[in-house]
Amino acid sequence: MLAQQLVNGVLLGATYALFALGFTLMFGVLRVINLTYGFTFSAGAFIALALTRQVGLNIALALPLAALGSGLIAVLLDSLLLPRLRRRPSAELDSLMVTLGAVLALYSLMTAWLGPDIRRFPPGTISATAIELAGVRVTAAQGLILAASLLLVGLLMALMTTTKLGLAIRAVAEKPDAAGLMGINTPRIAHLVSLLSGALGGAGGVLIGLNFNAIQPYMGESMMLRGFVVIIVGGMGDMRGALIAGLALGIIEVLTAGYIDSSLKEMVAFAILVAVLWTRPQGLFGRAVGQRA
């Protein structure tokens, strides 16, 4: 029982980590709290749904295409909303309000267009078989989620730590002006970061959609709350922190639902958030944003 719960928790946590990684990357580089990020989660799930249902694509192809589509949506939204906001003296607060308004408008537009009903992937999108190992059951969907999350997280980490492009992204995140003096095209890096983070958000939407087989326009909203918990606990802009905190949140939610009460799982997540902010405002692993200079 406990082993099964832990496996389910790790799987859920891997998607949280994936989603939060995109959010923390965007905040770390662009320095605004961009709530439209949650929309890329819903968008990714719906694009994958349309590709599997209407076009009849295999999920292995629909997933990367949905991620790419969400990434492009993020680039479009960010270039419409962020450049003006980032120049404001109170960029943090203004971006919170403007992107909140924008994301609510996007969700209701999507609901008006596609309806509020819960939709499901066509049967057979992913094999219903499950393997059982020492009493622990892992479905094919869960296997795909884990493999895709690990692959995407691994690729992103490799990009950031081993490539020249990753070095340029980290330079822009730390000191955009100095990065410009090095000859780095900072606006282009900003677009690229929007693309990458939107793609991670979209991929997260597809994977969660597969895991629970339930897709609806506002699914990005509850995910965004978790994204917040994860990146604040992990330290804003800290990628390693987001990974650890995402995994932990998934495990805690599943254990709470399994051993206490499923209606309490969100309460537990936010209680942790409050406790962390109370004692370590810089996050459990990260440094305070102000100290990142």
Binding site: K164, L167, A168, R170, A171, E174, K175, D177, A178, A179, G180, L181, M182, G183, I184, N185, T186, P187, R292, A293
Partner: protein, 237 residues
């Protein structure tokens, strides 16, 4: 010969604050030109405007005859004008080696990058044993050397130095000015901003004095150093 860098009628303002009010500065190839002035005179605003980081309200910047006014910063760097900004601005969360690599961001030839890094480490030997260290853990003087080394990795056609001696211990100040003198001997074109006027005037060919956003005096470094008003205001004599 066309000046390496020519600034004409430059104006920079922040809202209602006019930081730079129509200045003309010209730097000939191979010269070291210094810009001296008190706190708030508009030196950094001038440097940031040249590099494409501050908005130019009026005026023109030419680099080897090419009008680079209002170009984005990365394009100006690609054109060979590099800056060591005020306060060093090293990437503290990255290693010394990564900081140097970023200085050669526009170079793709690995052998060339390695050769430049070897030359930079020869010039700044104390960076060598700190290559794997985070730049944020270096002392102020070491960070200044890293910032200069980083700019030299880009093989600057024109090098801008904004107060390289600011906040450094006297020993480091001497070292920094010795390196500027070396660069001058090697023929590097430099625009140097300094509050340490006596050291700057010693190393420079030409000098400009900036007060409240205007040039109040200019000429050869020797003439400017000999000016009584300059001596009284900036040379402590």
């Amino acid at each position: 010969m066309a000046p390496a860098l020519e600034i004409s009628g430059l104006c920079v303002s922040y809202g209602r604050t006019e930081a730079v009010r129509g200045i003309d500065v010209s730097v000939q190839p191979g010269q070291v030109v210094c810009l001296i002035g008190a706190n708030g005179a508009g030196k950094t605003s001038t440097m940031r405007a040249i590099s494409g980081l501050a908005k130019i309200r009026q005026g023109q910047i030419r680099l080897n005859g090419t009008d680079i006014t209002a170009w984005p910063a990365h394009r100006i760097a690609a054109q060979g004008l590099l800056q060591v900004p005020e306060g060093r601005q090293v990437f503290g969360e990255l290693t010394v080696a990564d900081n140097l690599a970023l200085g050669a961001y526009l170079v793709s030839d690995r052998a060339e990058i390695a050769a430049r890094q070897a030359r930079v480490l020869q010039r700044f030997p104390r960076l060598r044993e700190r290559l794997a260290q985070h730049a944020g853990s270096l002392s102020g003087g070491e960070q200044q050397m890293l910032a200069m080394g980083r700019a030299l990795m880009g093989a600057p056609g024109v090098l801008l130095l904004d107060e390289p001696s600011m906040g450094l211990a006297p020993l480091f100040v001497d070292e920094i000015f010795a390196i500027i003198a070396d660069l001058r001997r090697e023929g590097t074109t430099i625009l140097l901003v300094e509050q340490n006027a006596s050291a700057a005037l010693e190393v420079a060919d030409q000098a400009y004095v900036l007060e409240q956003g205007r040039i109040v005096l200019s000429g050869t470094a020797a003439d400017v150093a000999a000016n009584e008003a300059v001596a009284a205001a900036y040379l402590g004599g």
